[in-house]
């Protein structure tokens, strides 16, 4: 079992004819992902890695029964691409694209909530259900099938944590990269709830970083609703005040959004928090 994605999910790649889209489509296919269509406006009739390309998302749904889309279009085209995917009635949209303006995200997020569409990202590495499928840009080799659910605000952080866990035989049910932006479409808490209800997940690992209040809200949810064990690691202990640490959302502002504040909130909720990445492995082993 897994959340959001499995080997049957009928996946569309929006932006499949771009330089990133082409390479990543190949790697996703190699991993076993059931990619059934690509969309690039004006490129209908092309075939990329054996996958037919359509002009619109609606066409890909009509022709190939697409239910989920992974979006890798440039930032200037992102608003239209997401709107199109929402309007075509997809169940799941994963936005890999980085540098999407915050006001655009706020508008699209409101529309998606009205329509009941689940969107992950933006600036997400994607979703992977190890051994089955991946919708995203993560290197498949660091993941392995298993029963630990991972929610991460950062791609690279999830890669290293997963690789460390895989090395000692602790596989993952699904890893979801929720994105590094100040406003994201789906929260850490929403993902916790999915893992709580997933019979294939025994424990959830939260990988957080400075900025915003995702971890604090997650801590409230864990204290009130989670029955499964949760382990966390929050990076940015040394992040200086007022500097964006690579992600637009990774910003300490005075006493707001600090690593120390997040760690305290999670510990208060009974969550063991690792002080460095490798310690995650020990904590997971203790909690299982």
């Amino acid at each position: 079992m897994s959340i959001l994605l499995n080997r049957e999910t009928r996946v569309l790649v929006q932006g499949i004819t771009g330089s990133v889209g082409r390479v990543q489509a190949k790697w996703m296919l190699d991993y076993g992902t059931n990619i059934v269509a690509g969309v690039t406006p004006g490129k209908e009739g092309e075939v990329v890695e054996g996958v037919p390309v359509y002009n619109t998302v609606a066409d890909s749904v009509a022709q190939q029964g697409v239910t989920a889309s992974v979006i890798m279009v440039p930032p200037f085209a992102i608003k239209k691409a997401i709107l199109e995917a929402i309007e075509a009635g997809l169940e799941l949209i994963v936005v890999i694209t980085e540098h999407v303006p915050v006001h655009d995200i706020m508008e699209l997020r409101a529309i998606a909530k009205e329509r009941g569409t689940r969107i992950i990202g933006s600036n997400s590495p994607g979703i992977i259900t190890p051994g089955e499928a991946k919708m995203g840009i993560m290197p498949g080799i660091v993941f392995s099938p298993g029963r630990i659910g991972i929610i991460s605000r950062s791609g690279t952080l999830s890669y290293e944590a997963s690789a460390n866990l895989s090395n000692v035989g602790l596989g993952q049910s699904t890893m979801v990269g929720i994105g590094g932006e100040p406003v994201i479409f789906s929260s850490m808490t929403e993902m916790l709830e999915l893992f709580e209800n997933d019979p294939g997940t025994d424990l959830v690992l939260l990988l957080g970083e400075v900025g915003g209040s995702q971890e604090e809200k997650a801590a409230e949810f864990i204290a009130q609703k989670m029955t499964k064990p949760v382990v966390a690691c929050i990076v940015g202990y040394n992040a200086p005040d007022g500097k964006r640490m690579g992600h637009a959302g990774a910003l300490v502002h005075g006493s707001m959004g600090t690593q120390q504040g997040k760690v305290a909130a999670l510990r208060q909720a009974g969550v063991p928090v690792a002080t460095h990445l490798l310690e995650v492995v020990d904590l997971v082993q203790k909690c299982l």
Partner: protein
Amino acid sequence: MWLYEFEGSDLFRREGIPVPDYALATSPQDARQKAEEMGLPVVVKAQVLTGGRGLAGGVQVAESLDQVETVTKRILDLKIKNLPVRQVMIARKVEVVRELYVGVTVDGYNGTPVVILSTAGGVSIEEMARDHPEQVISRLIPILQGLSLDEAEQLVREAGLDGEDGAQVAGIVCALYDLFRKHDAMVAEINPLVRTTDGTYLALDAKVEIDDESLFRHPEFKEASENNVLTPLEQKARQIGVTYVELDGEIAIIASGAGLGMATMDIVGQKLRPANFMETGGGITADLLYNTMDLVLQKEGVKAIFINLYGGVNRMHEGAKGVVRYMKEHEVNVPVVAKAVGNYQKETWEIFEGGGVTVIKEVATEKGIELLARLLEEKK
């Protein structure tokens, strides 16, 4: 991107938010002339992109033209949180009878704009929320509907403002919300918004941050002067196209992602001291890593470099070629340790090893930092 107070005030004036008369000056003589045209008394305010300028002596009242000159000279000589003051704003001094706070910002968790209003203006909103939470009113605004004048009037009524005062402040709240939306702001804040003795409301400060990612549709801000808050190395990093934050230590970090970069910084910080945070994002090329090598080595006192890469979207082997080329062309006298995991990892290791980089073939960053610490010990 933060705007200077005068840039924010220009924006306020354009969008219908009343501000006192003001002018910019870059020298004491210039300030004297502007004050003479405006009429005394005036307030001389340092233009710097940081808070706390009042405490640092960056805001002074001047009653005479001579005083304008001396005060301006003093302020232009200041460094406020390490930032030089290059210009001052000369603003007409107004008689204040009450101070409010009005702000619009992004509520990150709820993913929607939030309007915040407080009858305790003048101090920072964080202090207000902590010390007088009962005086802070905030309202999430559904972005697709926006904020109507009626709703704004209701909001200011909750803050105890009605009649003519309520109408004026509600109008300003709406104008600020519209400005926030129109210009892709992350923050638009008036602190304080004051009522003067003649009953009009004026914005006495303007704090506006524009979303960096939206600058492609706001060419008017592209040339703005915000680079002032970045150190020279941070500015250089921006030109190269990477994120670099200068820190106090000796171990330079090059990482291929933000989370990994912060994790590396934290691990280094447990025993050694990071010289910087640096992450490339997903666009690694040979030239990019060549340039980042040059960048991190420009910081004085760097004793070692740790390169931490994942090959997901990044082409690590291309990046490795850039590092090796840099080391061939320059004398790099500090240990360079690299960890590279993911697509093309074998190719990447070979290129690094062929060019004098010590490769750690493990996953855990902790192991890499241990190795680097050992190399530093041996070097002593």
